[in-house]
Symmetry: C2
Subunit: 514 residues, 2 copies
């Protein structure tokens, strides 16, 4: 056994079953170890930002980390932006990052870099493992770190000589403690606040947006009259028929301020006090009304579901309140806005337990309305604001849940960052429907440049939002990577394409010309 084999064997023995890989020479011993571990699935990707986003999507759906295999500092660097998103999603991820042999580092070969420094901005846990004898235990600790505190990013650096030096054993994985229910005092305080007739908002994020948590929040709302909201962007929401509804806070700050106006009490559940996504001149960015009392019922590292259930019980909320979502599939559109018709046709055709990935940005406005009474589904969003996650997040979700249809609504601007994910979807025969909203613009920026108060906007500025010169042919891009594609430019074509893609296994791409 060598260090790489100890590492890989420890991953498997710590419960890791999937590794999204983009290896280079310094990872060759890890790669050579793959055939020793039949329980480890290696999913090759062609760009590291695909690996890290796929690990994020996998973790969101299966509640445990995947590993990534990345090639030294620059390989890690290519994965950082989607690790930023994963960090904000509190997705557990275990990065294995190869490095030069320890004795080679002082010589400043071309690929020499400070791997730890690259990892630092996105990692909760970092270690370079200099000895083959210890790498197994370091690996077990990395997995433990990833599984701790509600989900963390762990980055384990594997020098080449650690990989090839003899090792004697695997690391021993200690399961981290389950998330604690918050202290009774926090529950009692929330319960008291909910009985004092003040205007109260409960703001929820994280695991409490699974069906059980949303049900408990609805119980509380019915009993107390408090309003309940989810964050604007969330890692995973269990939605659709048979569950309870929860509204999300809107994107723009002034809309949030309007909703929260007059709120006297804010109860935070796995979230934090709301702030605007960006700051704007002369506009409030901290969106809690003056004088509003804030109480944190649970942190993201605590068990927010049991906290909500405890509060619901303590205030005597009904066990099964009215308001379960009925299944009402919308009719197909026969005209009107094409982007809206996509969500309408999606809800019309989507199978039970689909996974909907939403990075549609400005084309996603109708999703809320049409998905409201869709069959049960999981809803995954961009959590860290770094666009370019939809396609690889869908890859990871599909690897986690191979029996479920994954539907990705994706803006064209964001899609371009990690389009290489399409190739891995094809390679792994993932049942994903990638819907590209092709409006040939960074449309959100046309809106934002007005909102930030910029003046005298001329043609050079506007040219920075125009991604239609030249036009991007998404069907060709998809087919170039082995993914079946359909271009649609009318509501009728949307309906036909959606029906086809929902009834036939993917991957598919639907390019929607707006």
């Amino acid at each position: 056994m060598n260090g790489a084999q100890s590492l890989l064997g420890t991953l498997v023995r710590s419960g890791i079953e999937v590794c999204f890989t983009n290896p280079g020479t310094s990872e060759m011993h890890f790669v050579a170890s793959l055939d020793r571990e039949p329980e480890m699935r290696a999913v090759l990707v062609l760009f590291e930002g695909v690996a890290t986003a796929a690990a994020d999507g996998y973790a969101r759906m299966i509640n445990k980390p995947a590993a990534t295999l990345l090639h030294l500092g620059p390989g890690l660097a290519n994965g950082l932006s989607n690790l930023h998103n994963a960090k904000k999603a509190r997705s557990p991820v275990v990065n294995i990052i190869g490095d030069h042999a320890t004795y080679h580092l002082p010589f400043e070969a071309p690929l020499t870099s400070d791997v730890k420094a690259f990892a630092a901005p996105v990692s909760h846990w970092i270690k370079s493992s200099p000895n083959a004898a210890d790498v197994g235990q370091d690996t077990a600790e990395a997995v433990r770190a990833a599984n701790s505190n509600g989900g963390q990013i762990a980055s384990l650096i594997l020098p080449a000589d650690t990989a090839w030096t003899p090792a004697s054993d695997y690391g021993f994985y200690r399961t981290p403690p389950m998330p604690d229910t918050p202290p009774q005092a926090a529950i009692t305080k929330a319960s008291k606040m909910l009985k004092n007739s003040k205007k109260t908002v409960i703001l929820i994020s994280g695991h409490a947006l699974r069906a059980k948590g949303v049900k408990a929040a609805n119980r509380i709302a019915v009993k107390s009259g408090a309003q309940v909201f989810a964050d604007t962007f969330n890692a995973r929401m269990e939605r659709g028929a048979g569950r309870y509804n929860i509204k999300r806070l809107p994107y723009f700050a002034e809309q949030v301020s309007e909703i929260l106006a007059g709120t006297e009490q804010l109860i935070i559940v796995g979230s934090k006090p709301p702030v605007s996504f960006f700051a704007y001149p002369d506009t409030p960015n901290y969106l809690v009304p003056d004088g509003c009392q804030i109480h944190t019922l649970s942190t993201p590292a605590e068990n927010s579901i049991s906290a909500l259930e405890a509060v619901a019980d303590e205030i005597g909320a009904p066990k099964n309140p009215h308001g379960r979502i009925d299944l009402i599939r919308p009719e197909l559109a026969s005209g009107g806005d094409i982007a809206s018709s996509v969500w309408q046709a999606m809800a019309h055709f989507m199978p039970d337990d689909s996974i909907v990935v939403d990075e549609a940005t400005t084309s996603g406005i109708a999703s809320e309305m049409f998905l409201a009474n869709a069959p049960s589904f999981d809803y995954l969003q961009l959590t860290g604001g770094s666009i370019g996650i939809g396609l690889p997040l869908s890859l990871g979700a599909s690897i986690a849940c191979p029996g479920r249809k994954v539907i990705c609504g994706q803006g064209d601007g964001g899609a371009m960052y990690t389009l290489q994910a399409l190739w891995s979807q094809a390679r792994e025969q993932c049942d994903v429907v990638n819907i590209i909203f092709n409006n040939r613009k960074y449309l959100i920026l046309e809106i934002e440049i007005m909102r930030v108060g910029a003046e005298n906007i001329g043609p050079k500025a506007l040219d920075m939002f125009d991604i239609g010169r030249p036009e991007i042919d998404w069907c060709k891009l998809a087919e170039g990577m082995g993914v079946h594609s359909i271009r649609v430019s009318s509501v009728q074509e949307v309906n036909h394409a959606m029906e086809f893609c929902m009834k036939n296994k993917g991957p598919h791409m639907i390019e929607v010309i707006l």
Copy 2:
């Protein structure tokens, strides 16, 4: 005038003429300022790794920095791996990185990150500019830093409130001092070494690989009998007919060791003592023979050309030695290896003063032979080992030199990391011929896994090098981004495609099926 206008105006007044942009909301005031500055050309890219590599290519060809415009920490993160390459190339680059308003940072909005920490591993100079009154001067200092010490990476962080707050003036740019000629003692010592009849090797990198430096090195070789080599990978070499030749050290360590065996003296010119690209078990990584005396004639920050000329003069070398490269265009191939025929046809058809970008990896073996007597050209390589630079480096070189043909020999694996560069090539109507060597493999890794001594390599491991499942259709990918493409799978087709692309303005793609 606001802070963004002060910044942009200072860039222009400091000599910066091009900015490779991928902006978001926090950069909107910068974008809105573009129309005030007609001398600033803004080149939109769809992925930040394209921006940073294009800035590198631009700087290599024009000897001054371009700016990049990047969206907060995650946008910078996407550009880091090619900044790593630019750093190793000693290319001057000025990154402008937007950030949240200073007062917004404490609230941990989704896009909040530690931008300085992201910038640190690749930057020689970093500053966040918290006041609009100072941002002009900070900008001038950033440009000065980029232009200092032989070329550096400067990262200037622009908080949104700095951008929109009133400012009063532009920054004043102080030109950095020209690189010094090394101290006379270093020149005298080299001259003495070159007269003592010991076996001597001169190893050159950096600016000394321009024609003047290589000529001076050839003068020294003719007079002294010393052997002269360039590093294996270099930012820019002026090559071809009318100039002098210089061999490069080969890639594999054992080949370098064989070349250097018996060397008693090593004179370093803008380089460093040779080490292997990667370390391998039981193989030397430091490649200087035991007992060899090392003398650094010049550092990368010094004027290596004047150093070589001074040494040549001091030892009485002939002013114009024999050995100028003759123009001998090879005949076209009529059969044989297709990858080789590409380089053969390139040398047959390429116009004078072409720019050849080489990230062909295993498909580039024949380039040395066929380009040896080509017409004068610049030769640009991957300096930092982080694959995925060829297409955007070509974009940047073409923006710098719009009248010159850029020819990029690019492996398919590396091409996939930054294929978005094709779109910007089409948008800017760059005269680039992108040649993709499609061997459907990470072939270098099939070689490397044997070299690192990994054993029991099975089908799962081999699957990690197979990028032909599914097959990638590079013509469709190019056409999807607006680039004309030709697929070739015979020597005759190579010849025809090369002739067409050399005679017609680009951008083009030639997909070579190997």
